[in-house]
């Protein structure tokens, strides 16, 4: 057998490189990044395998101290809800503040502090939010108001609750009761996957 010449084994990788660059661009563009949360939460593990829907989801983030934050994933619904809330609570929001509001994924301050909060630079938002949270006591329950407003705009929005696994039960209970009170009887807990035990 004749020996193959050395320079004949050279494979042109340019085409391969083209394909990978294309695929990479596709995956980078389709990747949806989770909205940055005001604080870190370790969700409890569960055997449930249902994935969270891509779109039309409200996420209620519950802090260990009982503070609640709300994320409405659709910017149009979020903005409409803000306008309704502003008129109900007699707060005026300027166009500039509305632009900032749409940029910030989480809602986490009482309505009367909203304009001042939106005037802060974005980098200070998380710290400011952690200080307040949405009021959800029985006399001033803006949390349920926000959800009712969003559900009035689109009743198909799914409600999910996200809380740390060490959150005391009474805090979760309060949010669950509030949701049932506004007739939002169906909602979901956000969990992380763990394998089911052997044989199930």
């Amino acid at each position: 057998m004749a020996k193959a010449k050395k320079h004949d084994v050279w494979i042109d990788m340019t085409a391969m490189s083209d394909v990978t660059v294309l695929l990479l661009t596709f995956f980078i563009l389709t990747a949806t990044f989770l909205p940055p949360e005001p604080f870190r939460v370790v969700a409890p593990a569960s055997v449930m395998e249902i994935k969270i829907p891509e779109y039309n989801v409200m996420t209620v983030l519950i802090g260990l101290d009982g503070k609640v934050f709300l994320n409405i994933d659709r910017p149009d619904v979020r903005l409409q809800a803000l306008e309704q809330m502003a008129s109900e609570y007699g707060v005026t929001i300027t166009d500039q503040q509305k632009r900032v509001f749409v940029e910030q994924p989480f809602i986490g301050v009482p309505m009367n502090r909203m304009p001042a909060f939106l005037d802060l630079p974005m980098t200070e938002h998380d710290a400011a939010m952690r200080q307040y949270g949405i009021p959800n006591d029985s006399t001033n329950n803006q949390f349920t108001d926000w959800i009712q407003k969003a559900r009035a705009i689109d009743s198909d929005m799914k409600i999910t609750l996200k809380a740390d696994e060490s959150t005391p039960y009474p805090i979760i209970d309060k949010v669950m009761k509030d949701l049932v009170h506004i007739k939002a009887n169906r909602y979901s807990f956000i969990t992380v996957l763990r394998g089911a035990p052997e044989g199930f």
């Binding site: 990479l24 995956f27 990747a31 593990a45 994935k51 009170h181 807990f189 763990r194």
Partner: protein, 227 residues
């Protein structure tokens, strides 16, 4: 045109060799594939799972609308502190309040062992668990050809059977969110279709306190009136 003379004063061969301009793309492709795998994993793994909950409305339910369950097929779980679970079977009558052994204590099961809560539920719900296992086997044998609707309908029928186990989950104030999710998880694992999250009553708190003090609390305090 400026040209770099590589050959020095060779003369005649002032053009660079053709095959030297070829760039080796192999490391580039390696890197791209690595990045590609990274993004593929990140996009699929970062999505969290959800556990659906349907709570009953808090409006007053009429007496004849409340679902009837067999007393003998009911089990009540009281989720307590430090990952403890207290449980009792059926309904509590007046005489059992004074007995601190009415409720028993167990723990959450781990992934590898069925000891604890899962063992109890599996034993009491054996029939439904077996039927569900057969159903899943049938689906497997038919090579996933079973429509989702048929599977759901049949599993609902098994889980909703009058003789299937009914679980009442009552998280106490000392429990945490993880306990609740763990308990709901066991419902999924043990094929329990009928379960509800309910507030603990005075009577439940009395029973737990009585159990913790080995009956001393029950002697010192009056049992609440059974409702």
């Amino acid at each position: 045109m400026a040209q770099i003379q590589t050959g020095g004063g060779d003369g005649g061969r002032n053009q660079p060799k053709k095959h030297n301009t070829r760039v080796d793309f192999t490391p580039m492709v390696d890197m791209m594939l690595l990045l590609l795998t990274f993004f593929m994993f990140v996009t699929t793994l970062s999505k969290p799972q959800i556990m659906d909950i349907a709570m009953p409305s808090d409006a007053e339910v009429l007496e004849d609308e409340t679902p009837k369950v067999k007393e003998s097929r009911a089990i009540t779980l009281l989720l307590g502190e430090e990952d403890k679970v207290y449980y009792y079977l059926g309904k509590i009558d007046e005489s059992s309040y004074s007995d601190y052994t009415t409720i028993k204590e167990t723990t959450y099961s781990t992934r590898t062992s069925n000891e604890g809560l899962r063992g109890i539920l599996l034993e009491r719900n054996a029939e439904a668990v077996n039927l569900m296992r057969e159903l899943k086997l049938e689906r497997l044998e038919r090579g996933d050809k079973m429509p989702v609707e048929e599977f759901n309908e049949r599993s609902n029928k098994i889980k909703g059977d009058i003789d299937a186990l009914t679980v009442v989950i009552k998280p106490l104030e000392s429990s945490n969110y993880k306990n609740l999710v763990d308990a709901l998880d066991e419902m999924q694992i043990c094929s329990v279709g009928k379960y509800a999250i309910v507030d603990a009553t005075e009577g439940d708190l009395f029973l737990v306190e009585n159990y913790r003090t080995r009956g001393a609390y029950g002697e010192a305090n009056l049992a609440p009136q059974a409702r």
